[in-house]
Amino acid sequence: MARIGVFVCHCGENIGATVDCARVAEACRKIPGVAHSVDYKYMCSDPGQTLIREAIAQNKLTGVVVAACSPRMHEPTFRRVCSESGLNPYLCEMANLREHCSWVHEKSDVTTDKAIDLVAMLVEKVKRNKPLHPIKVPVTKTALVLGGGISGIQAALDIANAGHKVILVERDPSIGGHMSQLSETFPTLDCSQCILTPRMVEVAQHPNITLYTYSELESLDGFIGNFKTRIRKKARSLDEKLCTGCGLCTTKCPNKKIPSEFNTGLGMRTAIYVPFPQAVPNKPVIDREHCTYYTKGRCRVCEKVCPTQAIRFDQEDQIVEHEVGAVVVATGFTVKETDFFPEYGYGKYKDVINGLQFERILSASGPTLGEVKRPSDGRVPETVVFIACAGSRDPAKGIEYCSKICCMYTAKHAMLYKHKVHHGQAYVFYMDIRAAGKMYDEFTRRAIEEDHVQYIRGRVSRIYERNGKLIVQGADTLLNAMPVEIEADLVVLATAGVANEGAEALAQKLHVSYDSHKFFVEAHPKLRPVETNTAGVFLAGACQSPKDIPESVGQASGTAAKVAALFSMDELTREPVVAVVNRTAPPLYSTCVGCFLCQSACPYQAIEREEIKNRNGQVVKTIAKVNPGLCQGCGTCVAFCRSKSIDLQGYTHEQVYAEVMELLS
């Protein structure tokens, strides 16, 4: 016979003021199998916990229901209390009297009746709870870092410096990410490349880091501590071991008119190319889409000029496999192109550019070598209009969020422009100036006050071209929405930061959730900001949401700390909420008939085939078997199994059936 203890918490006034807790405790005392039922002001307090501990000992309780707040809040607390009292922690359940009852209903008998129902339901469940034991799994102490931008670089270095192996995968031919494209960085205005390049080199030379550039994640299987990953090394079309990075091929390549991705289309590159001079590794790739040999079948100039005969036209993509224990996702973000904005000409005006393009114009290594010249005719623009929140915070554009970095970089852009074109006039259209951060507000004030950038609070409704000028029509909301019309030479849109192309597909490969904007979702917005809901997969940088450099680096180091903590153990424990296929006595062995329809329903490939053999070693039956290491406990297989041969520990058929039946009896 069950001996259940019920502990009703007042949560001070939170529950107590609305629900008659004494009546709840009293009513529960009458439930068959309840051996003990009390109410108390704060169950989660030390005295409250002691109350539970003592009751477990004195009443020899076989199960505990704590009727308090949401189990999502304090379930671990009370399970720990049970565990300390010698009761298996999985024999403890929580009835949610606060979030689901007292906080959402008025004080009344009906509310108290509901509270009693909620507890009674959990009492019936807990009567059927079985002691469960955490699952132990070994840990492979190698981390996979996806993305070689500043976040990935930082995470990789921190993990490697903690003494663990790291595999760093970058989609582009070089690591560096967006940060390598930037001119100067706010709020200090130090040169982006100057502070980034040493880190890139460190990555390349670190003994614990294996670097795969021009590579992409093919698949990730397994679970925390025990992932198996396949990485596609795209064909660079050259033997990296032989290539010395002399660059002769890139100078001789006859195909020189390909818009450079690194220079955001403002400069050109060759078909065999190194994206930028400081690239790591400093080895070219052949862009097969544009290479004359691949498109027309002849040329091979690079092959001829290469002093080490490193060119390999017939090279194929290669799949490499690794076992890793943790994954850091640092795949970054991208910005909207100007063609996203109908009111700004759908990208048809050459002199309407986005912020990243302006970074390249400002950059000393950029297409204009740092001189501010506009793309259409190379003239120095006398009037530049910067439009903040281009797309961001605009529900009509489907982007409700603030891209966070634009206010700061727009101030920087305007400032750098003024530094370079002293007589020029810079206007900034803005909604709000969001400059929260160390030395940030001071920075924007400096742009306004010292560099005399003219800030106009309002939005730009339309841009059109007239006589070689861009007519920027807007309104100044601080002047009673007075129409403003500026004849500009160049317009820079601080376009919204958005999820990277392919983020959705990547999330599905990684089994992590993503929001409606395809940014990856953290496990908890406040308390678990670098973890995902998939154990062992962590987030760093702008793949989660747009972030600036300090924040990305900070999060990357935080991620590295999580990975290091994970790797500090030789094995780790997992929640035992997993599915189990039943086993029965012969001749049935299991009620599973081996239809294996559950296999395709399982999101984790956790269902395997098990052959049951008789004493003579003959296979008598093939049934399903759940790999507890892979199973995450969703229970989709359980509801799917016709013969009810699979059950989910913690949410068994008996438990949920009893809950429902009790609720309405």
């Binding site: 068959p32 029965t584 006595a585 001749p587 049935l588 039946m661 009896s665």
Partner: protein, 336 residues
Amino acid sequence: MQKRSIRRAQINVLLEKLLSLHQVIYAPQKLGNQVDFAPLRDLQDLTLDHIQTVRSAKAALFPPVEELLRYQRAGVETELQDRDLTNLAEQVLFGTRPCDAAAIAPLSAVFTTDDQDAIFARRLERTTVISVSCERSDGDCFCTSVGVGPGDSRGSDLLLTRLQDDEYLAEILTAKGEALLQLAPELFGPEPAESKEAHLAKVQKRFDWEALHDKLAGAFDHPFWLRTALACLGCGACAYVCPVCSCFDIQDEGSQKKGRRLRSWDSCGLALFTLHASGHNPRSIQSQRWRQRMMHKFSYMPDQLQQLGCVGCGRCSRACPADMNLIEQVENFLFA
């Protein structure tokens, strides 16, 4: 026993009278393409123009679901409440065939030998059986092979046999039959001159059940079973339409607060019937279950209850989705 006559129209009057006395009348009615027993609400629905109903009339005595007791939790105690037998209705089985009526004896034997089943006994006590002799039969009928006949009066309180177009011979066989007569004596005419034999169906005798009984005694391990039960699907159709089959299951339904215990039909043809909690099943394959059915009817029941478990109604043959025809099975067995 006395013999009287009654006209078809008067039979209806009698039934009307019974209905007006709040008696439940189970009678053959047309349901879709089938004729089956059901509580009679309107005399228009009544049919006698059929060979055999799909189901037997046993549900009136041994319902598919029968409550045995109820329980309710009061404080820490649990109160048990036996089935109240005082409110069981008086009922009439009308239009049963002589084979159906003959089945009441073996059915009663199951429920009343050694221990009396109170509910069954009370139901039987409150049941009056008005049978109608068979004028026609079909290839599935074999009553004469198991000692029953198309005009057999066993088990009936009143037996009607059609003589002319709408004239019936009424054999008043028991006190309950007598009570029927007394209920409306004016409806009955004098004993007709004609005897019923000429008007009964001719049912050919297909096998000798005593020979079958004797052969079965040593046939438990006969290879016949395996061979002939290949087509058997393992459902309970034969048992559920059978007037004699009486296996049941006991189920408790309810919560810890209140509930009840039910008796419901079961069948030895179903694999679950003999499945042990351990997972072992002493009758692991269908041929063993088929054998059990034959053995039970033709060997064990005669031996232990002195009643043959079959009255030759042929319902099992008609209901079987795999056409396991009982006559053929028996003939083949005797030949094997």
